[in-house]
């Protein structure tokens, strides 16, 4: 006798998506879509379902779809998350799920924002190893020295932290948490010689002193980086004058 496999339970979810078509709309508008989803589905799957089956004009970024590339950061129910790491069953599905582009960067279309100001701040902190020697083999580092900046190596530049920061919302000149996190990654690297340069860059009017320690960034980070702590460590390094 054939064994019956129980059907995976499905449920209906309403998505409220903040849509903006620059060729038609003056202002962004909320559009709702009803989709049938399964408990194992993520918000990204729901967006795919809308795009592939209901409205092909829906525009959003995603590349790896597995929480590594950082393309699909968006504001889901008022919190910055990666759509590919947010299970629908973890949200309150008795209510519509609100999906907006991340805040503080100019919206280009639907859920896509112009990331250039974000990348510019990243470039401004010199996100590369600065070393004067030309070693014949790899530079060695003790496990303790490596652990010093381990947390900040996890950044995937998804911009969830920077666009959750209320200071960044009102002041686009602020370097923002992500740039400081990536500066931290090199400032506290024992093999790097550019700490002073980066500390000087972040001792700017728009640098670390802009941080109000609201912890939005730490809460938003999909990689679990303690962003506010990293910013505090950079502040202390500037006060000390060395990492």
């Amino acid at each position: 006798m054939e064994k019956q496999i129980a059907e995976v339970a499905s449920f209906k979810v309403t998505l409220m998506i903040r849509r903006f078509d620059p060729e038609v709309d003056q202002e962004p508008k909320w559009v709702d879509y009803d989709v049938e989803m399964f408990g194992t589905d993520r918000v990204l799957d729901a967006l795919h379902k809308v795009k592939w089956e209901i409205d092909g004009s829906l525009t959003f970024r995603r590349s790896c779809a597995h929480g590594v590339c950082g393309s699909d950061a968006m504001r889901i129910n008022g919190r910055n998350r990666l759509a590919c790491k947010t299970l629908i069953k973890d949200l309150d599905i008795s209510q519509p799920i609100y999906i907006e582009p991340i805040k503080g960067l100019p919206v280009e279309k639907d859920l896509i924002v112009d990331m250039n100001p974000f990348y510019q701040a990243y470039k401004d902190i010199n996100p590369f190893l600065m070393a004067s020697d030309t070693p014949a083999k790899e530079r060695l580092q003790s496990p303790e020295d490596r652990a010093r900046y381990d947390d900040t190596t996890k950044c995937i530049l998804c911009a969830a932290c920077t666009t959750s920061c209320p200071v960044f919302w009102t002041d686009g000149q602020y370097f923002g948490p992500a740039a400081i996190v990536n500066a931290h990654r090199f400032i506290f690297d024992s093999r790097d010689e550019g700490a002073q340069v980066r500390l000087e860059i972040l001792n700017d009017k728009e640098g670390v002193w802009r941080c109000r320690t609201t912890f939005n960034c730490t809460e938003a980070c999909p990689r679990g980086i303690e962003v506010t702590k990293a910013i505090a460590e950079v502040k202390q390094a500037i006060l000390r004058g060395r990492p």
Binding site: N203, D204, K235
Partner: protein
């Protein structure tokens, strides 16, 4: 037709030396100091002895006859005013986007803060419990006019 969406973020300009580091440090140092200064002030004025009922011109004059309380109140005045004004400046910097308005507000803040600090300091060191020409019922008993 392609629509160009203007970016609100202009390229970052390198700024010269700034005081933000010292401002930040000042807030952290003055904060805990102010907690001690203010709560001791409150207890000394409102709880100890006859408490709040004892406060009049004579009480204030008696307190400021002692250099200890003069220095105490002077420190409290300056730290609280600079701490508060700098906090307000921070909020203005965060939320006022228009540069001319921002500059105007910050200038006003420091002007008002400076004026209050000067007036307050003057009162601490030149307090007269028996001002000439004041109504008799408002003056403490030891004043010659009452």
């Amino acid at each position: 037709m392609a629509v160009i969406i203007e970016t609100p973020n202009s390229p970052r300009t390198r700024k010269q030396a700034n005081w933000e580091k010292y401002g930040w440090l000042f807030m952290r140092v003055s904060g805990p100091l102010l907690i001690v200064l203010i709560f001791t002030h409150l207890v000394a004025n409102l709880v100890v002895g006859d408490g709040i009922k004892a406060i009049d011109f004579a009480f204030v004059a008696g307190k400021w006859a002692d250099p200890f309380w003069q220095v105490w109140d002077f420190a409290m005045l300056w730290l609280a005013m600079i701490h508060g004004t700098n906090g307000m400046r921070t909020i203005v910097n965060d939320y006022v986007a228009k540069e001319s308005l921002r500059k105007g507000l910050v200038t006003t803040l420091w002007a008002v803060g400076g004026l209050l600090v000067v007036l307050g300091s003057l009162v601490i060191f030149t307090f007269d419990p028996c001002p000439a020409g004041a109504a008799a019922e408002l003056l403490p008993s030891f004043c010659p006019a009452s």
